[in-house]
Amino acid sequence: MNRRRYVLYFSLITAAIIALTWMNIAWGSVDLSAGEIFRILGGDRSDVMHSNIICSIRLPRTAAAILLGGALALSGYLLQTFFRNPIVGPFVLGISSGAKLAVALAMILVLSGGKEIGLYTMVAAAFAGSLIVMAFVLLVSVRVRSMSILVVCGIMIGYICSAVTDFVVTFADDSNIVNLHNWSMGSLSGINWEEIRIIAVITAFCLVMTVWMLKPMSAYRLGEAYARSVGVSIKGLRVMLITISSLLAACVTAFAGPISFVGIAIPHLVRSCLKTDAAHVMIPASFLGGAAVTLLCDAIARTVFAPTEVSISSVTALLLVPVVIYMMIHRNDRNRDV
């Protein structure tokens, strides 16, 4: 019965990703016909403008949506596993904000020095920022057992980071501000193949590591004590979970700015669809689900008010916040039942 559900989910989600990929490539300020797209993808570069639109703009953007969306969802799933709480995600816990602050600082520092900011610097800064925030959240989580306080704490940290970011922006040069503003809104636009390569490497690495941790993660679902009693190295698992989820969140933030609520909502949605929380199903399912939803949101962000683009974060928020709210209410209901 569950197996049928899994097969159904995976075939639907794959179909959705293919369809959305097609949409993202075909639609936009310039609509392209199927024949044209196939020609260009087939290697025909005769129409320079159209082939540029597809190869340099829409294809990398679509790839980024898939990879980063998947990364976010995966990051959210890992954090939810770690805290054993379904209402946490990289954005809620302020990890994305931390990454954002660190990237902002790095940008202003480097750009005001008159240099171009390198991709690796961005990723490194984002990773550092997210780790710092994560460390802080962990510190809090050790002291307070209550999950709601933890979430509130994360949101507060998010605000502090935003405030500091604003602060920094106020004293920055105009050109920096434009750069920073675009980035901090959260957008997949302007991503090039070089960036995609880095994203792909990081995401693939994290995916492999996640699969590597599959077994301890399953055991960890019963809580620390039981996990330890079957031989899980708790410390090792925790370090791995934190590092990988932070790395994923940092990667997303570095290249696309903060994209909100994908990390928290997608694993939850997937879980409700599949009616399981088993890690070996949830990891690929979350990844694909995140990819599909991000593709959809990006398509909306690009096309609804075309040619004006709205920030992808706004779309994800509008689309996913209701899910999160529903989820919190539902969860409370259930807790009362039991």
Partner: protein, 785 residues
């Protein structure tokens, strides 16, 4: 006991940032349930969480499976130990089956993929705990009772040797609590798992535990059987309710007014307290599952005749159609017996079992002490050698053995209607009273009425009986339901005044005056009267009375013959001129061999051998007959000693004790016993070491267990002479050589001989004891029809 299974702590300190409890020494053996009780915050959970590794030990050592736990790899620990905790687990959308499957974690590969075997085990565990039907339900949706069962099957899946449970019944209603505890009990017994758990419900702890550990006031307050721990004053002190009104609690089994007994409570019914008139208790025999009725025989001193009275009672009850079993918690004896499983136990219970008409089982005598030196003894628990201990060490560890005794008794009580329990020594050994597990402590544990036996032959029977009574505690005194005056010579009618005085002054009924009985039973220990000097008869057998003589009942069978004397000799002068010399078994071959030479007996034996006297060596004696006895591993005292060089064999002592029943034949014989060849032999072997010939030699007892040359015979087989055929042929052959004729026509197999002796004993006891009263004590009403 580093080779012990289960879990053991050695001076363990526990706590978070400072020591909460120090020096915890507890042990849980496979198949045992040990329960922690104590007020909230006393450290129960802390202790359990320290054992599971969640908290660090603050000092001391935890031994898992006999190994230092901190030195074991995590993977090895989790294959030996699993746990069920008190808190509710709430993983989202995790099915019960998935939960149970995590128990297989230590056994699966890198990605945790379950094999067929794993799946089968999961299924089996779930079926066993009755949760297979809800395997696909989410754990968050099932009831607390089901959830704890799921957690238990998860723990089973882990195939542990040790199971740790922290208040497993906390959220459960009565029914689920019962269910779960039953499962835990079954688990520990069926799968031989050591269970350590904490419980809040005292009545539950009392019923399920083999041993209870009470924690409080920052220390281990008491460790013992439920009966020892659940005393009202102690429980009140433990929970600090000494003056509190406990009205709201309702009935609590630990209230002393309720006259709690293990038996009644295990059946879940409160039997009214045992009043003066015992006959009103329960007049029917126990139903199938209820426990046997015990009766306990205690003596005013060693050799007061407890064993014999107990043996006689076993026979009487058996004759009256009951299933009877003897029991003695602890035997101190050199003379042990090997059961068909190869386990060692005291001979007295073997005799009693024979009287009862059942096979001897090691649970009839769970603890056997074999003195090896003046200070130390070899301690044998449930037939297995645990090690050598000094008296002080044994005394210190007695509490640990209480659980073994209880378990053995319970096993026995499942098989019998009546258990005849024998005490050891005297119940009034004031210095040994604490943690007593052999006399009154045992009587208390199993709630047995006691008959006290005094020995009038040695004099002072009034002082013995009344003095013993005076030295007992009030509650112990109440247990003594009758006196038996034993070994009375002459007309018992002349003792009527004595009976009156005893009953008046001792305020206890005299159940009977037993005459001096010349019944030949296997003796209990080396203190017995058999070593009295006896005159040599027509056929004279000299048994060398070694310093460390053991298993000397081998020669009892000869005593059924009028014309045969069996003399135990310990000097060359005493040796005289026997027809046959026997060197018996020894607990310390090398020491006895030295002594043999120093005392000059060795020389005399060699001379006699040259003169042609038949010489038998049994077991240790056989070893001594050889060229040398070597002890390379220091099993006894190490070193090497030259033997008597009468047989060309060498012995090397080893660490492994060989214990087995023997069934074979006389493979070959030389000298005067040549005709013995082919005769069947039954007996048993019990020795450490191997004896091998270094020359071509005739095999005596088959299977390489003995060799002979000329008139020198050596064998490891005890009970060699028990069969009539062998015994009579030995006597006839040897006496025939010197032209004498010994009447062996009335000889029987030792087995048959013993059976008739038992019947004689039973008859005599029936004549002198008030059997109706004794049945009444056990709550059994006899209808003579």
């Amino acid at each position: 006991m580093a080779d012990q299974k289960g879990i053991r702590t050695d001076h363990l300190h526990i706590g978070y940032s400072c020591d909460l409890i120090r020096d915890i020494c507890i042990e849980v053996q496979p198949g045992r349930i040990v329960t922690l009780i104590g007020p909230n915050g006393c450290g129960k959970s802390t202790l359990l969480r320290t054992l599971t590794g969640e908290l660090r030990e603050r000092g001391g050592v935890v031994f898992l499976d006999g190994k230092d736990k901190s030195a074991l790899r995590s993977g090895d620990v989790v294959k030996r130990m699993s746990m069920v905790m008190t808190y509710r687990v709430r993983p989202e959308l995790m099915t019960c089956r998935e939960v149970v499957e995590t128990g297989r974690y230590p056994y699966t590969g890198r990605f945790g993929i379950l094999s067929e075997h794993d799946r089968a085990l999961v299924q089996e565990a779930m079926e066993w705990t009755d949760v297979a039907g809800i395997g696909d339900e989410y754990i968050q949706n099932i009831s607390d009772g089901q959830r704890q069962r799921v957690m238990l099957s998860r723990a089973i899946c882990q195939e542990p040797e040790v199971l740790i449970l922290d208040e497993p019944t906390s959220y459960l209603d009565i029914r689920h609590r019962l269910d779960l505890l039953q499962k835990i009990k079954d688990l520990s017994k069926e799968r031989d798992i050591a269970v350590l758990m904490s419980l809040h419900e005292l009545e539950t702890a009392m019923k399920i535990s083999d041993t209870v550990v009470a924690l409080g006031e920052g220390k281990v307050l008491r460790i013992g059987t439920p009966q020892e721990v659940f005393r009202e004053d102690f429980i009140r002190k433990l929970y600090d309710i000494e003056r509190a009104d406990t009205e709201y609690l309702g009935y609590e089994p630990w209230f002393e007014d309720n006259d709690f007994t293990g038996e009644t409570n295990r059946n879940g019914q409160a039997i009214p307290s045992e009043n003066a008139d015992c006959n009103i208790r329960v007049n029917t025999l126990p139903e199938k599952h209820s426990k046997a009725r015990p009766i306990m025989i205690q003596g005013t001193m060693s050799n007061a005749g407890k064993s014999m009275i107990a043996a006689g009672l076993c026979r009487i009850f058996a004759q009256d159609g009951y299933r009877v079993a003897p029991f003695k918690s602890q035997n101190m004896a050199l003379n042990s017996f090997v059961t068909s499983e190869g386990l060692e136990m005291g001979r007295a219970q073997v005799v009693q079992a024979e009287c009862a008409g059942i096979d001897p089982m090691v649970c009839m005598n769970p603890i056997l002490l074999k003195p090896t030196s003046d200070e130390g003894s070899q301690v044998i628990v449930n037939g297995q050698v645990v090690g050598n201990m000094s008296a002080a060490e044994y005394f210190r560890r007695k509490k640990e053995f209480a659980g073994d005794i209880r378990k053995a008794y319970e096993k026995l009580s499942d098989m019998a209607d009546i258990i005849v329990v024998e005490g050891a020594g005297s119940p009034a050994e004031m210095n040994l009273r604490q943690d007593d597990i052999v006399n009154m402590g045992l009587a208390e544990m199993i709630d047995a009425p006691v008959l006290l036996v005094g020995d009038i032959d040695r004099g002072g029977v009034f002082a013995q009986l009344i003095g013993t009574m005076d030295l007992l505690e009030e509650n112990e005194r109440k247990r003594v339901k009758g006196f038996i005056v034993n070994k009375f010579r002459g007309d018992p009618g002349l003792f009527e005044d004595g009976i009156r005085i005893l009953e008046e002054r001792g305020r206890t009924k005299v159940v009977g005056v037993v005459p001096w009985l010349d019944v030949k039973l296997d003796d209990e220990d080396s203190l017995s009267e058999r070593f009295r000097a006896v005159p040599a008869k027509h056929f004279d057998i000299a048994v060398i009375r070694l310093k460390h003589i053991s298993n000397f009942t081998d020669f009892d069978t000869f005593e059924q013959l009028e014309d045969v004397s069996v003399r135990y000799v310990s000097s060359p002068e005493e040796l005289g001129d026997p027809d046959m010399i026997v060197i018996p078994g020894s607990k310390n071959t090398i020491a006895d061999l030295k002594w043999l030479k120093e005392a000059g007996i060795a020389g005399r034996i060699t001379e006699k051998a040259e003169e042609g006297t038949v010489i038998f060596g049994i077991c240790g004696g056989y070893q001594m007959l050889g060229r040398s006895v070597e002890d390379p591993q220091g099993t006894e005292s190490g070193g090497r000693e030259d033997g008597l060089c009468l047989l060309p064999v060498d012995t090397e002592l080893g660490n492994e004790k060989e214990r087995r029943s023997y069934s074979g034949e006389i493979a070959g014989a030389t000298g005067v016993l040549e005709d013995l060849k082919g005769a069947g032999v039954r007996g048993y072997e019990i020795h450490m070491g191997r004896t091998l010939p270094y020359e071509d030699l005739t095999e005596f007892t088959s299977g390489g267990t003995g060799y002979c040359r000329g008139d020198i015979y050596g064998s490891y087989v005890h009970g060699l002479f028990d069969r009539r055929e062998i015994m009579t042929r030995v006597i006839c052959a040897i006496s025939g050589r010197k032209g004498a004729e010994i009447d062996v026509s009335r000889a029987v197999d030792y087995e048959a001989f013993r059976q008739t002796q038992y019947d004689i004993l039973a008859q005599k006891l029936r004549e002198s004891l008030d059997m109706d009263y004794i049945y009444g004590l056990m709550g059994i009403e006899r209808h003579d029809d």
